[in-house]
């Protein structure tokens, strides 16, 4: 399941709904991304997440499908927030549940790595020196590429 929303999410409630009643699940891996209060040497006041409505949902759904194709998942979830977020706020939740923990961990990392390089979101940071669009990180590309290497024929 994927969702793009302005509102915050309740980690406990989301995970409970995801796993409830499925007794095939032995391991659940979850990642939550949060807004940090610093950007390099500067204090961050807030960040604003812009996205491409329509394409965002398609991209996330495709990433989730790919994760389910690669690993035997019992459940998966991606929630990404948009709009203005302050330090300490939750940005993104990805979760993957499987019979065994290795699949859950790998799928969870895959989901966030691919989301970061393929889903059409853009962050703008507000600091004392003004608003600034976040630049893509080379580390994120590398993290995403390790999954590409495992399956060079996968759709972008």
């Amino acid at each position: 399941m994927i969702r793009v929303q302005r509102e915050d999410f309740d980690l406990g409630a989301e995970v409970a709904a995801l796993t409830r009643g499925n007794h095939e699940i032995g391991g659940l891996a979850v990642f939550v991304g949060l807004v940090r209060d610093r950007v390099g040497e500067e204090n961050l006041g807030a960040m604003t997440l812009e996205h491409y409505p329509g394409m965002t949902e398609k991209a996330l759904a495709r990433i989730e499908e790919e994760a389910n194709r690669r690993w035997p998942l019992e459940a998966s979830l991606v929630i990404h927030r948009v709009g203005r977020l302050e330090p300490g706020e939750q940005i993104v939740l990805v979760a993957a549940a499987s019979a065994h923990r290795q699949a859950a961990f790998e799928a969870c990392q895959f989901l966030i790595d691919w989301l970061k390089t393929k889903a059409p979101f853009w962050k703008q940071e507000e600091t004392a020196s003004g608003p600034k669009w976040v630049e893509a990180r080379a580390g994120d590309d590398e993290a995403a590429k390790r999954w590409q290497a495992q399956d060079p024929d996968a759709a972008q």
């Binding site: 394409m55 393929k118 889903a119 059409p120 979101f121 630049e135 893509a136």
Partner: protein
């Protein structure tokens, strides 16, 4: 054709979306970018670094050689930074 711009491309170009009538010589993504670049300094600046430019045709990532037509929705954007 419906054009959409995101993040700093939107700021440089000055609009979030516009409808354009394509001239007959524009048949691919690359040709569309060449044509757009010539529309003004904001466009030229926004499209200067094509290696860093994301293009989606009808909400799917597209390569320079991909065909585009008048009924398409084409989006241009910088590298994504979500998550």
């Amino acid at each position: 054709m419906k054009l959409l711009y995101f993040a700093w491309l939107k700021v440089k170009i000055g609009v979030a979306a516009e409808e354009v009538a394509l001239p007959p010589e524009v048949g691919t993504v690359a040709e569309l970018l060449d044509w757009l670049e010539a529309r003004g300094p904001g466009y030229a600046e926004a499209l200067a670094d094509r290696s860093a430019l994301g293009v989606a045709v009808n909400q799917e990532y597209a390569r320079p050689e991909e065909p585009v037509g008048p009924d398409d929705e084409v989006a241009l954007f910088p590298p994504v930074t979500g998550g």
